[in-house]
């Protein structure tokens, strides 16, 4: 063997050499390598530093349970921290950096922590850093925070795409080892729809890593044959590089496919990762078993690794972990390891099998690389790597995600999965079967949906027997249970001594099992040591709670394409194009984009809105009001339905007329308002506020279906069918007159609150409503949406001679405040009809939603805050929404609070700031001078309470 790359064997493509770098140093590897295997082949073992003591750490595993070999990959928006070197497929140009060290991995100042390590025991933080008080936030905590953490995350946006998807199958098989493959073959041949998912880059599971024999061919060849058969079947979906991260209610599984992490940059058309929700009728957990470390002195020195990992590096990656190996085991896999390594030409110095000798490893020599081991009998053996096997733990995680706890099985010395019913079953080593023949048989059983289980191929079995050895107590060196979090064997008895005896408390006190590997390697050892320290059995101690995610999942995958401006869909009105042409500034209103103001050369929003108001009130303005919810309500019982929904009466509304309606919640608080028009005897058009449109619809559906299922009423949202524009101002009528066909818009033929179909522009069927939010003589014109912009342009044309001006929601809101009309600021989910000055609307003659609870004392209390107008005491002064109102003489305190300002506007008509406020017993306080407390903006001014209607109280303009 030259160097540490074996001359032959392995599933690597030696014809494709890849260059990569680690901490700036350049190396080469082969296609098929992982970053870890390539580094090992280059004799690099020091790959990281531990969390607390910053101890040098090397790779322990060959898979997703890796706690130590965490690196940072890529740059800028693609920078990704804490990536397991064991799961990174090597690609040309890969640049990896080590973490949690300063200034360098080789020389890390943080390592001084290990000098004080005798003090840094579990729970140490809770007992100190309390004096002097101020020091915690200023000194201690910043230090701790800087020392803690692993890699650095990027603060730039990720240039790559992510996708979400759903998948459906009769049988989901998680894990593609012999068990999974056998299950897949069985089910696929029976013709059911299956998905076979495996987190590894290549399907085949342990058959890719071990020397097995099935059907008198190598395990590998058997797997490849099985896979090509599966690939040929239409009812089979194979998902390599796909981690099933969680099991959820309804047999829904969450999975993430690393579509393009094995290349430097994804194609622009493909996602980096894809998150899939798999709906499985049945699922098989064929996730295999995890080898455990043994807890002994120096078990974290680079060069100490799991025996199965060392075999995998040799067999699958043709990489030798060392030149001279000591094997430390408590089970039969020692022999297998030795023979595999010898076959690979690696010298095995000694096999220390705890079942055969009392002289165990008490310490491992070497700092950044193993140089030898020391046994209990003080004999030391030189070596450059140690293969350890503390037994095997079935990978039960997924099956425990919905609360069931695994059970201890003495004979395999591991926790086996609970029975969670037939929709999700465990098979193979995940179910505790450690022999290949059992795995194949179990896989076939699990893959059989109905009928008898087919025969399975013959195979060679490796013996499996284990005698637990958890912790070499005589260890002289530090013995780690949780590598990444630096939890040592001694921490657990200490936690128990201090009262943290429950495994959950011990976990939190020592942080064992809380690192990025979630204790895949360490938890069972921790449980055993705690059991020993507290004289309990494994079952009595039990496991901590298994939770998603089986391995950590990127935010990007779970967010999918819904990021940045795609976070939520954009909703545009039928008049959007028209407003856009006129240079409107748009504002988000829920999902809608609404035209907010129409700036002319250099105007700011206030100047523009002011001009729009003046033009509207003196001439005519046009505004897009399409976002108001519109609900078509029809049927013989439509009237009755509306009578029950609104607090005021609709049965008395004549066809062709509109009426303002107020809806309460069942608890008596105001829910929503809007005008509803009667188009025909049994046909109404209800309008809602923009904000509540969806909620009102759901409310109607609820009331109808859950309370009054026998009402003969039908309703559907027609919001999107109509482009609707308000045309307001003294010249509104004249403007409209020019576009309506054969109808004169005078007060007799089209009076205030008329609501009728009209024909416009020579034949377009539209609807016209004479209603007003602005307080002007105004109309709302509704036209089929695809004509919206066109009609708006036509109205502009018609109004040109009157100087028609487009106005946006800012001007709209100024005008409604001038008129004292309530809106969002006042309809805030805590106000009653009385508070809004609409108490008279509440009918006493009928039942309606909210009627009873509105009668509660607290909702009738005369001292409730109700809507008033508010103005600055100094007419030139300013008032602001959110300011609180205090009695003139009172000092600032909540006890003296009288209410607050809910809406304000600069009134172009009054040329001063005016607003609406909610003030205790306000209606009887018009004219009172009050203090306006706006401490958050450091102002304290005076204001005058007044009638909410600031402008045209007599409604002369409305009826003009």
């Amino acid at each position: 063997m030259t160097g540490f790359r074996l001359d032959k064997g392995g599933l690597i493509d030696r014809t494709t050499t890849l260059n990569f770098s680690f901490d700036g140093k350049v190396f080469t590897g082969f296609q098929g390598d992982t970053l870890a295997s390539a580094l090992i082949a280059n004799n690099v073992h020091l790959m990281g530093r531990s969390f607390k003591y910053h101890r040098p750490r090397g790779v322990i595993s060959a898979g997703s349970s890796e706690p130590n070999a965490l690196v940072t990959l890529r740059e800028g928006g693609r920078q990704e921290a804490n990536t397991r070197a064991t799961m990174v497929e090597l690609y040309d140009g890969l640049a990896a950096r080590s973490q949690n060290r300063w200034p360098s991995l080789n020389f890390d100042v943080g390592a001084v922590n290990s000098l004080a390590s005798h003090m840094f025991v579990a729970g140490f933080y809770y007992k100190t850093f309390m004096w002097p008080k101020s020091f915690w936030e200023k000194i201690y905590e910043p230090l701790i925070r800087r020392a803690a953490g692993l890699g650095h995350a990027s603060k730039e946006a990720d240039p790559d795409k992510y996708e979400k998807a759903y998948a459906h199958c009769d049988l989901l098989i998680i894990g593609s080892g012999p068990t999974g493959l056998m299950a897949a073959l069985t089910a696929a041949r029976a013709g059911v729809r299956i998905i076979l998912a495996d987190e590894s880059a290549a399907l085949g599971g342990s058959l890719l890593n071990e020397n097995e024999e099935i059907d008198s061919v190598s395990g590998l060849d058997w797997a490849l044959a099985a896979l090509s058969e599966l690939r040929s079947l239409p009812n089979v979906t194979l998902m390599p590089r796909t981690t099933v991260f969680g099991w959820y209610d309804g047999n829904v599984f969450g999975a993430v496919e690393r579509v393009n992490d094995h290349v430097a940059e994804p194609s622009p058309y493909e996602p980096r990762q894809r998150y899939t929700r798999i709906f499985a009728r049945r699922a098989v957990m064929a996730t295999g078993a995890e080898e455990r470390p043994i807890v002994f002195g120096g078990n974290d020195v680079p060069g100490v690794m799991l025996a199965s990992a060392m075999r995998t590096y040799a067999n699958r990656y043709a990489a030798a972990a060392g030149k001279s190996i000591v094997v430390f085991t408590n089970n039969d896999s020692g022999k297998r390891t030795a023979s595999d390594l010898r076959r690979a030409g690696v010298h095995v110095e000694a096999i220390i099998d705890s079942r055969k000798t009392a002289h165990l490893i008490v310490d491992v020599k070497g700092g950044k690389r193993v140089t030898g081991v020391e046994l209990g009998n003080h004999r030391s053996i030189p070596c450059d790597a140690v293969a350890m096997s503390g037994g095997w733990s079935p990978i039960v995680n997924l099956m425990c995600h919905r609360g069931a706890k695994p059970l201890w099985n003495e004979s395999i010395a591991g926790f086996v999965p609970p029975d969670v019913g037939s929709a999700f079953v465990a098979a193979g080593s995940a179910a505790g079967h450690m022999l290949l023949s059992e795995c194949l048989a179990d896989g076939a059983r699990a893959g059989t949906m109905k009928g008898r289980v087919p025969a399975v191929p013959k195979c060679r079995d490796e013996r499996f027997a284990v005698t637990p050895l958890w912790w070499v107590k005589e260890s002289t060196g530090k013995a780690f249970v949780d590598y990444q979090n630096d939890a040592t064997a001694k921490d657990l008895p200490l936690a128990a001594r201090e009262g943290y005896r429950d495994i959950e408390l011990a976990k939190r006190y020592t942080t064992a099992g809380m690192a990025t590997d979630q204790g895949k390697l360490g938890n069972v050892n921790a449980i055993a040591i705690l059991a020993d320290a507290t004289g309990r059995t494994m079952d009595q101690v039990g496991t901590t709670t298994f939770r998603p995610y089986y391995t950590p999942v990127s935010f990007g995958a779970l967010a999918g394409p819904f990021v940045r401006h795609h976070f939520q869909p954009v909703r545009k009105t039928p008049l959007h194009d028209w407003a856009y042409e006129l240079g409107a500034t748009f504002v988000e209103a829920g999902l809608w984009m609404r035209s907010s103001w129409f700036p002319m050369d250099g105007e700011d929003w206030l100047a523009a809105a002011t001009r729009e108001v003046l033009a509207t009130r003196s001439g005519v303005g046009i505004c897009d009001v399409s976002t108001l919810g519109k609900i078509d309500v029809q049927g013989p019982d439509a009237t009755e339905f509306l009578n029950r929904l609104y607090c005021n009466t609709f049965s008395t509304l004549a066809a062709g007329r509109a009426r303002y309606g107020l809806m309460l919640r069942e608890d008596g608080i105001v829910f929503d308002d809007g005008t509803t028009s009667r188009l025909a005897e049994d046909h109404f058009l209800m309008t809602t506020t923009t904000a509540n449109a969806a909620r009102v619809m759901a409310h109607m559906e609820f009331c109808h279906q859950a309370h009054w299922p026998d009402l003969d009423v039908q309703y559907v949202s027609v919001t999107e069918q109509w482009g609707q524009m308000a045309i307001a101002g003294p010249k509104a009528r004249a403007t409209l007159q020019k576009i309506v066909d054969d109808i004169t818009l005078d007060d007799t033929s089209f009076p205030y609150l008329a609501a009728r179909p009209v024909s416009i522009l020579g034949g377009m069927q539209a609807r016209l409503f004479r209603i007003s939010f602005s307080g002007e003589h105004a109309y709302e014109l509704a036209v089929p949406a695809d004509y919206g912009s066109m009609v708006a342009r036509a109205v502009m044309q018609a109004g040109q001679e009157f100087g028609i001006t487009p106005y946006g929601v800012e001007a709209l809101s100024i005008m409604r405040i001038e008129k004292g009309h309530v809106a969002g600021g006042e309809l805030n989910g805590t106000t009653t009809a009385g508070d809004l000055g609409l108490g008279k609307m509440m009918s006493t003659k009928k039942d309606y939603v909210g009627r009873m609870m509105a009668q509660r004392e607290g909702l009738q209390d005369p001292n409730r805050q109700c809507v008033v107008g508010i103005r600055p005491y100094d007419p030139k002064g300013k008032i602001r929404s959110g300011a609180h109102i205090l009695n003139k003489g009172d000092a600032a305190s909540m006890a003296a609070d009288q209410g607050y300002i809910s809406s304000v506007a600069w009134s172009p008509m009054l040329e001063m700031w005016v607003g609406l406020a909610l003030v205790a017993n306000g209606r009887s306080r018009h004219g009172e001078i009050v203090k306006l407390f706006d401490g958050i903006r450091n102002t304290l001014t005076y204001g005058v309470i007044c009638d909410p209607v600031h402008y045209d109280r007599e409604n002369i303009k409305l009826h003009a």
Binding site: W131, H152, L494, E498, G499, G560, I936
Partner: protein, 416 residues
Amino acid sequence: MKYSVFSLLKNTLSGHKNWAPAWRDPEPKKEYDVIIIGGGGHGLATAYYLAKIHGITNVAVLEKSWLGSGNVGRNTTIIRSNYMLPGNNPFYEWSMKLWEGLEQDFNFNAMVSQRGVLNLCHTDAQRDAFARRGNAMRLDGVDAELLDAQGVREMYPFLDFANARFPIKGGILQRRGGTVRHDAVAWGYARGADLRGVDIIQNCEVTGIKTNSGKVVGVQTNRGYIACRKLGLAAAGNSSEVAAMAGLKLPIESHVLQAFVSEGLKPYIDGVITFGAGHFYVSQSDKGGLVFGGDIDGYNSYARRGNLPMVEHVIEAGVAMIPGLSRVRVLRSWGGIMDMSMDGSPIIDKTPIDGLYLNAGWCYGGFKATPASGWCFAHTIAKDEPHKLNAAYRMDRFARGHMIDEKGQGATPNLH
């Protein structure tokens, strides 16, 4: 044993063999003056203040599982006192004041960290609401600042200012808000209460409440009957279940709220940020994990786990707020059972049953309340009448129509 630099050194030298247990593991006595159901933050704090302030030490805290296994041990650790409606701020501000002296008070480092809580706003209406709230805070003597977009950008330049679906218009900042190490709160109060003679009894589930002619006389537990003169319920998510044992029906629904932690990272987010255009809040733990959460799943639940739709909502909002999170990985998610009340505000009150007291309805805001809740509940139990700080949290407010509904959602618990 008092925790100090000296005790730490002393024990280090003796190989940490001599640390005394943080609390005893006593057998239940036959009878107690006061029994508290629930060994969570509120129950333990109540016992602590009963002993410390009211000198009532013949007290037992009965916890059905392990100490702090409930919401105190699974929350996102945010503390603040930034409320809007009368009655709330004085209570939460008192809680904040207690937090500020807590560690010295109970001699346990709970890592109280006033890193600042920033709520973002994305519309003018939201800004106005923040102004109203901020002024209410100022009127109550609580610190509050209104930031414009620039002010936010200076604190957190890596939020999405460039390409957001809902632009950040500003925010409201309470600098004295922050985070506290959740488990340590339970442990600190437990240790403090234990030192003062309180029996903390784990793995002791209350299965029945015994009353005699309208008065509480004791509780049935899986460890036998225990008599008491007064009984305080602090069972959070299980409040309805426990109250039902005394024949009470509460204005509460139980819902699951999920929380999340990312892989450990070097310092990334200094304070607490909450998003205003989707439900998302985040801070970074001293260990380096980003601790974050969002809304409850929405369906009634007693299972301490949620489902994927809310996971996606939360993470979509997270990346919308901080695009750089895209490549960060979420490590673990879990759930806790929220006692969602009908107006989003809590209840600390006597009940129609003599000697029975109720502490419930915390929704997802009860961790920050822990000290004041314990303090007020202890007072209410000891004096048999509410303190003025919890005077607004009466049970009859719903019947009388005096709801404290900060969100204006009405009697719809899953919207609070």
